[in-house]
Symmetry: C2
Subunit: 108 residues, 2 copies
């Protein structure tokens, strides 16, 4: 026990949970915000920006990339990361549906 029972849930449920989980850490939100600020997609100054060591940042970037939230393209020596808004849109569409459904029905 201890492991999430992924197989008991639908693909969609797992997809939404995976994306949300990747966004469920303040460092990763901070990375997203930084990528938004420097609208050209600069890479590893993220390390200088965040109060975390380089391996830790690298790991967070990896998780964001695995979840499809950012994408990185090699650019000479460094790597250019940027937000893939399509993935955020999946979440957005999903949550919007929740909000619409819930606001229609009266509750408790």
């Amino acid at each position: 026990m201890g492991a999430t029972k992924t197989e008991h849930f639908t693909d969609k449920q797992n997809q939404i949970a995976t994306i949300a989980k990747a966004l469920g850490h303040p460092a990763r939100i901070a990375i997203i915000e930084y990528l938004m600020k420097v609208n050209e997609c600069i890479c590893g100054d993220i390390v200088n920006e965040l109060p975390l060591a380089q391996p830790t940042v690298s790991q967070h970037l990896k998780e964001l990339k695995n979840a499809g939230i950012i994408k990185g393209s090699i650019e000479g020596n460094s790597i250019c990361y940027c937000i893939d808004e399509k993935t955020i849109e999946i979440l957005n569409t999903y949550f919007l549906k929740i909000i619409q459904t819930v606001s229609k029905s009266k509750c408790c």
Copy 2:
């Protein structure tokens, strides 16, 4: 080490991360979907609906409640849970801003 360095991030960053994290598990997404389906807010048939034991479901409900995603009101013997769309809206507004910002800027 091992604990998230919450204090290094802004309140907003922590708020968004907390809500996203609570949604970052397929069981909790399934709970949300069930609450949407039975638009009147029935309570612990969630246990019958999910492939998880009662204490596990109770724990997931607690986390959703702590994050402000659902609210529960005691109704006699049982508890009536329902989605608090205001919290989902916070996420939605935040993500929308990301999508808008990113789609404006060209990238990699």
